[in-house]
């Protein structure tokens, strides 16, 4: 593979020519706005749209009464109302929507919809929701889901421990902050159906969900879902599609709905805040014997993928380590806060922060090097997976650890400056790809020769920015020996693509590779057979190449003329469908393919302000072969910086169910000035005989960054961090508590 090929979507992106779905307009288009709740928890007494209707330019106003099908959405359970009828359960709940001749009219109309509420008490913390006398957010109470895992007997295990660390960790509500906010246009079609031009990570799933809401057959709903200006998991669930769709059907006009940033903040899903309490014990050699984990996730009022995310966190509770006794108990709790859902890392980032902190603290207690402690407990190539299921053999865990260790040894430390302390931390992670055992995880693809004589490669994936088009191009060229000018790529349009499953769970690259492996032989053979008939050359002498069919070095037929000489019926189309490989063991949600990250972070901590400045972030990734170098690097570097934000900057704070940070002036994202030196080492090695090809790297670069940074802070100051984003005032208080003074030029605690 050439690996350094430029992305096929590059030209249109750098010139501004790429039409995102929110850039589109259609003749006679109307503009829509959604009225969200005024309270995080209340009973709706009345909704009156009279004053809004009187406004010139208003074309339609809809509420719960206008939903013909199921008034709910949710990838697994449709429990989030499209429009609330009786009760609102968070501040982003929708109550009504308007279509009008302009955005301004729609905005004005929304203000004129009169809704009266009876305010209810707000459950803004899982502890409140779990209290005995708490109001119930659903009939069966405030626990959305529970998941546990046990291995051995932790109580027995702790009896044999000489070092025990117990701590509760808090991780924040991170916002995806994709630069393109949700939206697009829904266009009514002549046959009574609609075309939805809105981003999502699984077009066919949106089609299914919308058909349920609109009471329209799936075939009447076409979803055009690509390209997107970022998603990171945040646009996998439905967002504003139902509103624009209902309004387009009601008015019989194209309806555009593009959320402002403030609207996006209010309505969009976020990363699950979690409180994770862990007790971990080891013997005097550093061997971990018992690991007892309790996870409480604030999932907001609706399910979306909350249960699956908890499953994932529970699965990854012991990460890449093998502990004898493990007990994990996870609870996903309903609250009146933001809806928490899918976000790059999928619960792995939260649990890894806690787990890796535990390993470092244990190492200190046992009095051993944290890397040595990790190695002692690390999984081997053929060990079972974290849920005791069989997994694909891998040396990834030790490979990434060796890589970061080597780098640490080479690092030259800057000497501490006055009032600045420096430190280095290392952390690691193991991350499952695909949806896991027992989850519908079908994939597929199609190869055909288009009427223009191009090899059309078609997948039901979406380009969110991750570079799936580059991956498809690169892998197709490698599989068929053609070049980029021979290929067209068709994705993100339910009318034109096969089912490939979701563009999530780091599965895209893997699925494209598997699909091409399954299709390439048949496709090549069929084209060569046709070429043989046309050219009278023996079929066994023919092969595919740049621009056409070759005999040895000589081109005997172009793809175009091949296509022209074959009837439409006889045109070669090869399709495949299969399932993402899962463990053969019946372990619900258990993964089969895992990737690994080893992270080294270096920090400077300002003793006067408590500010943490990350100066170097290195990631070693084990995920098989690199398909496209720029894409791979971009995923790891970009993921790393996103998690730098998670570690020291980003928290979508809420108080009494209200957001505290309405836009980017208060919700701070990493800018170019926050970015440290970044380096990425790809460890491409896979065990001999591996048949699974390159793994996806969409998530792994985000998972182990936070604990590396907090360990670096510990290295600098000797203080342990149990809550992210790291708050400078916590650091200042800790410095004070340790009895150190910032004017003291001596190191605060001896380190190194």
């Amino acid at each position: 593979m050439s690996k350094s090929r430029k992305r096929p979507d590059g030209n249109d992106k750098v010139t501004g020519q790429l039409a995102y779905l929110t850039d589109r307009t259609f003749p006679e288009m109307l503009y829509a706005k959604v009225l969200r709740s005024a309270y995080p928890h209340a009973r709706i007494r009345s909704i009156c749209t009279e004053r809004a209707k009187e406004l010139p330019g208003v074309k339609a106003i809809i509420t719960h009464q206008d939903v013909p099908g199921v008034n709910g959405f949710g990838i697994i359970t449709p429990d989030q109302p499209v429009f609330c009828d009786e009760t609102v359960r968070f501040i982003g709940d929708a109550v009504a929507a308007v279509a009008a001749t302009s955005v301004e009219v729609a905005e004005e109309a929304i203000k004129r919809i009169d809704v009266t509420y009876d305010v209810l008490s707000v459950l803004d913390d899982p502890a409140k929701s779990l209290a005995k006398d708490a109001p119930k957010l659903r009939d069966d109470g405030n626990v959305l889901y529970k998941k546990s895992f046990t291995k051995g007997d932790v109580a027995e295990g702790f009896k044999h421990c000489t070092a025990v660390v117990e701590e509760t960790y808090h991780v924040p509500r991170q916002m995806h902050a994709y630069m393109e906010t949700e939206g697009g246009v829904v266009v009514p079609e002549a046959d009574g159906g609609i075309t939805v031009y809105m981003g999502t990570q699984h077009g066919f799933k949106d089609q299914f969900q919308l058909s349920r809401i609109l009471d329209l057959p799936k075939e009447s709903i076409r979803i055009v879902s690509s390209p997107m200006g970022g998603s990171f998991g945040g646009k996998d669930e439905l967002n504003v599609q139902p509103y624009a769709a209902l309004l387009a059907l009601k008015t019989n006009k194209p309806v555009k709905l593009h959320q402002t940033r403030a609207e996006s903040v209010i309505s969009s899903i976020k990363r699950h805040p979690m409180a994770i309490t862990i007790k971990t014990g080891a013997d005097e050699t550093g061997k971990v014997i018992a690991h007892d984990v309790k996870i409480v996730a604030d999932t907001g009022p609706y399910a979306t993928l909350g249960p699956a995310i908890l499953d994932f966190a529970v699965e990854h509770s012991a990460g890449p380590y093998r502990f004898e006794h493990v007990a994990v108990d996870g609870t996903s709790v309903l609250t009146n806060n933001a809806v928490s859902g899918e976000f790059r890392g999928f619960g792995g980032n939260q649990i890894t922060f806690a787990l890796e902190n535990q390993m470092d603290r244990l190492a200190e207690q046992v009095g051993m090097c944290p890397l040595a402690l990790r190695k002692l407990n690390l999984r081997g190539e053929h060990d079972l997976g974290p849920l005791e299921q069989r997994i694909v053999p891998t040396t990834g865990a030790s490979d990434v650890l060796e890589n970061v260790e080597r780098l640490k040894d080479q690092l030259e430390f800057k000497k501490d400056l006055p009032f600045v302390r420096t430190g280095v931390g290392i952390a690691m992670a193991m991350h499952g790809g695909g949806l896991g055992f027992g989850r519908l995880d079908g994939a597929g693809g199609r190869l055909s020769l288009s009427d223009e004589g191009k090899i059309d490669v078609s997948f039901g994936f979406e380009e969110v920015g991750q570079g799936i088009v580059a991956v498809i191009e690169e892998l197709t060229i490698a599989a068929l020996h053609c070049d980029e000018n021979d290929i067209t790529i068709t994705i993100g349009d339910t009318n034109r693509v096969p089912h490939s499953g979701s563009t999530t769970a780091s599965r895209g690259t893997s699925m494209v590779w598997h699909a091409l492996e399954r299709m390439k032989q048949e496709f090549k053979e069929k084209l060569c057979e046709q070429a043989a008939l046309i050219t009278d050359e023996p079929v066994n002498d023919l092969c595919l190449g740049t621009g056409g069919i070759y005999k040895g070095e000589e081109q005997v037929l172009t793809y175009r003329s091949l296509r022209e000489q074959v009837t439409s019926e006889a045109n070669v189309v090869v399709e495949t469908s299969f399932d993402f490989p899962t463990t053969p063991d019946e372990v619900d949600g258990g993964h089969y393919l895992y990737t690994f990250a080893g992270v080294l972070a270096a920090v400077e901590v300002d003793l006067l302000t408590g500010q943490v400045n990350v100066t170097h972030l290195h990631q070693a990734i084990s995920a098989g072969e690199v398909v496209n170098e720029l894409g791979y690097k971009g995923q790891i570097e970009g993921g790393g910086v996103m998690s730098l934000g998670y570690s020291i900057m980003e928290d979508m704070g809420m108080e009494q169910g209200h957001y505290l940070k309405p836009n980017f002036d208060t919700y701070m994202l990493p800018t170019i000035s926050d970015v440290p030196r970044l380096s990425v080492d790809a460890i491409e090695k896979l065990p001999d005989g591996d048949v699974h090809g390159p793994r996806g790297v969409g998530e792994i670069g985000t998972v182990a960054v936070a604990p590396a940074i907090t360990k670096a802070i510990h290295d600098a100051l000797g203080i342990w961090i149990n809550k992210i984003p790291v708050d400078p005032s916590t650091i200042l208080q800790a410095i004070e508590k340790e009895g150190a003074t910032w004017w003291n030029e001596q190191p605060i605690v001896s380190h190194k």
Partner: protein, 163 residues
Amino acid sequence: MVERATDCKPQMISMTLNGERVSIQANETDRLTDVLRHGEPSLTGTKLSCGIGRCGACSVLVNGELVNSCLLMAYQVEGASVTTIEGVGKGSLDPIQIAFMEEGGFQCGYCTPGMVMAVKALLLENPEPNDEQIVEGLSGNICRCTGYEGIKRAVRAAIRKQN
């Protein structure tokens, strides 16, 4: 002009847009971003993301200076010369654009037009900025995808290319 229901009066605004003299209808309350994207020019390369001057997705050049077009009212550019991403690399790509492609300076591409405009402004003012000046020049432009490393590589490559 962006259609309004309210009583604001449309007016004609003359400017030089990407090198061409144009007269565009706009309301008093239209932001420059609105007019560019949704008005007659239909230049959707300029993006809107935060709408409050914090992300740079809407960056354009006004008389050679980098501005957030979401913070500028359309009438404020009367008589000015406005350059959007559509005005960069017309005919053949600008070295900055080539560098962004070659160095992986983008992923989803939503910040890219604004980012390219910011680099353009930076290099117009200082053809050979050092790393610190690059960081300063781009500190108003947020990218959620790349981690900025590819963008830094691209700017360094663009500097080499223009020489």
